[in-house]
């Protein structure tokens, strides 16, 4: 990876980190409602994958920890923050919230609150791509706990049988809320389960974005070249609680400290400092620029945006009854 590519990824990860830290503050100040699940610590996963895919063109679907996935496909962070604030200007007009970000223009089919459910939706996306012979792949990004749902097995079986153009990315952060993987799952190397369904794949270090990128290039190439589905398991760690209400009593402090030493941003930053691709001053200045942008543009936009109108409460339930003018097939872009 060249210096420009590394710099871009460092900037993206840092932006995502500061964006979510600001979300945390806004949640504590009750400007954000509807729960909040932060991705802090896992940033290398989705940015590494999307650097290898066609961000904004490939169809992406994920779970509820979806803010950084939205950023990684190229969503406008102002519209995302407004959504978290529950405002009409948000990407779902304040009806989806933190767990349901969505952007059709970026082919982001959304975050979904229901654990494991998007596996099956991804099969539908991939089947449509296959039937319509489109130059696109589906990327389904879920966590380790989602792999214990029935839809995981149902969907991977279907993907393998139909040889679908779908990349499954498993962000294995070792915990389903407060239950460690070895207390919930008999086969803890999830790649083995995928293989059992007939889906090939690989594992990679989810804290090192360059390792994720290299593994993702192989994965994306496999799927795009028509060789069927692929399962990429990324070993990672969520630095904060499951959600804002998480007392976080279930993890050893020593384990947390060990993983804190593997911060994906620090790993890339240190590598770039050592190779003199960036200086500490440049990093600090980048950080300040990001913080200013988030405060002065993103949060300010979300704050001033209008709230949803009560008059609209019952709209968009069924198409024939709400006077919606956009009837017809879905638009793809």
């Amino acid at each position: 990876m060249d210096t420009d590519a590394r710099k871009l990824l460092l900037e993206k990860m840092l932006y995502a980190r500061r964006f979510e830290e600001r979300c945390f503050e806004a949640y504590m100040e009750r400007e954000i409602g509807g729960f909040l699940h932060l991705y802090v610590g896992q940033e290398a996963c989705v940015f590494g994958v999307m650097a290898a895919a066609r961000a904004g063109e490939d169809a992406v679907i994920t779970g509820y920890r979806d803010h950084v996935h939205g950023l990684a496909v190229g969503m406008d962070s102002k519209l995302m923050m407004a959504e978290l604030f529950g405002k009409e200007s948000g990407c779902c007009h304040g009806r989806g919230g933190s767990m349901h970000l969505f952007d059709l223009q970026k082919q982001f089919y959304g975050g979904y609150a229901i654990v494991g459910a998007p596996f099956a939706l991804a099969i539908g996306l991939a089947k449509a791509i296959q039937l319509q012979k489109r130059d696109q792949i589906a990327i389904c990004i879920l966590g380790d706990a989602a792999c214990n749902q029935g839809t995981f097995h149902e969907s991977l079986n279907m993907a393998a049988l139909w040889q679908l153009p779908v990349l499954f990315v498993c962000e294995n952060n070792l915990y389903g809320i407060g239950t460690r993987i070895d207390r919930s799952t008999a086969v803890t190397e999830l790649i083995e389960r995928a293989k059992g369904c007939g889906v090939t794949g690989a594992q990679a270090d989810g804290q090192d974005i360059e390792a994720v990128f290299e593994a993702s290039k192989v994965a994306v190439e496999h799927v795009r070249s028509g060789q069927g589905p692929y399962f990429l398991e990324l070993k990672t760690y969520r630095f904060r609680g499951h959600s804002m209400s998480d007392s976080n009593v279930y993890r050893d402090k020593s384990e947390e400290e060990q993983w804190a030493g593997r911060d994906p941003i620090q790993i890339l930053k240190n590598r770039m400092l050592e190779s003199q691709e960036i200086t500490e001053e440049e990093y600090k200045s980048l950080d300040k620029e990001i913080l200013d942008t988030i405060e002065n543009e993103v949060v300010a936009f979300a704050r001033q945006a209008p709230s949803p109108d009560v008059e609209d409460l019952e709209k968009y339930v069924l198409c024939d009854t709400d006077g919606d003018s956009e009837q017809g097939v879905n638009t793809n872009g």
Binding site: A120, L121, A128, L131, G150, E154, V317, C319, N332
Partner: protein, 326 residues
């Protein structure tokens, strides 16, 4: 023109729409090579190919989830669930996703999807193969729930369901799959969704029903006519959204109403209809609304099935009580 059964009308509608719209895709267990457990999709795979009629594994959640994903891409999937009692693994995909995508994306994603399932009792099948749980789905905002009661309405309403831009649960009363034959012109003409069908005009009492129970109710209406009582019979057809206006207009005229349904009584569609009549038409009524219903228990095995299902006798007694009320 030869006469066809309800299940043949379903097949004819599917074939018509597949021939006229390449985006229509059928998927489900046994729908292809086997032609469906009730033969509703007979010969469609050989006519339209394996890319249009997809045999899937026994995995209802995945079937419906896949259909939802396909629907977001401009396709019009028609998923078959073999029996209504097998639909529960797919609840999550129906309630959490199919019904909400449109609202959550403020109309940028539609979910033009039909889920067909044979439903209802009367064929001496075990419980999951006989029950009527349409109210579970009628409760959910963002779904249409449609139940045909004749070959003509099965054809016209299924065409409408496939062409509709919302997810439609299309429940086919299996007891009458082969009971009645009708001439069904294969011209691709849809019938309106969201509207009741007034099957018989009358001035003395309104009988509201849907699905297979339409047949018992019509027989009772005919025998009442011999006694000088003219019953108006309404086939609700689309139970959600409910065309309450047609029902209210009838009740305003007759002043009396009996609702006939196979489903368990509590929190049923019949309960909703009765509540809406009470809210909007209480002063039209000369007698309390009655519900002839299944019981609040698990659908029994075949020895007790006839007792569970509303019979002509039970409908007749309810009508008699209603007519005799001061």
């Amino acid at each position: 023109m030869s006469k066809i059964t309800l299940v043949e009308a379903v097949n004819q509608a599917l074939e018509y729409e597949m021939a006229h719209n390449n985006n229509v895709i059928i998927l489900g267990e046994d729908v292809g090579k086997n032609g469906g457990v009730f033969r509703a999709t007979l010969d469609l795979q050989s006519k339209f190919g394996e890319e249009r009629v997809l045999d899937t594994p026994l995995a209802e959640s995945m079937i419906v989830g896949t259909a939802v994903g396909m629907a977001t891409q401009g396709l019009r999937p028609v998923a078959e669930i073999q029996f209504m009692g097998f639909i529960y693994p797919a609840f999550d995909q129906i309630i959490n996703h199919a019904s909400r995508l449109r609202n959550r994306t403020r109309g940028r994603l539609h979910c033009p999807l039909v889920i067909r399932a044979p439903y209802g009792g009367g064929i001496h099948a075990p419980e999951h193969h006989s029950e009527s749980t349409e109210a579970l789905f009628a409760h959910v905002p963002g779904l249409r729930v449609v139940i045909p009661s004749s070959p003509l309405r099965a054809y016209g309403l299924l065409l409408a369901a496939i062409r509709d831009n919302d997810p439609v649960l299309f429940l086919e009363p299996k007891r009458i799959y082969r009971m009645v034959k009708q001439e069904v012109p294969n011209k691709g003409e849809a019938l309106p969704l969201d509207e009741c069908f007034v099957l018989r005009s009358g001035t003395d009492i309104t009988l509201v029903t849907w699905g297979a129970m339409v047949h018992e109710t019509m027989k009772v209406a005919e025998s009442l006519a011999l006694q000088g009582v003219e019953a108006e019979v309404i086939d609700v057809a689309t139970i959600k959204p409910l065309d309450i206006d047609t029902i209210l207009q009838s009740v305003e005229k007759t002043g009396r109403c009996v609702i006939v349904q196979e489903a368990a009584k509590t929190c049923s569609v019949g309960a909703e209809i009765a509540a809406q009549i009470a809210e909007q038409g209480l002063l039209y009524l000369c007698a309390p609304i009655q519900r002839v219903s299944g019981f609040d228990t698990v659908m029994p095995l075949f020895k007790l099935e006839d007792y569970y299902m509303p019979s002509e006798n039970r409908i007749y007694s309810a009508v008699k009580q209603t007519m005799e009320f001061a």
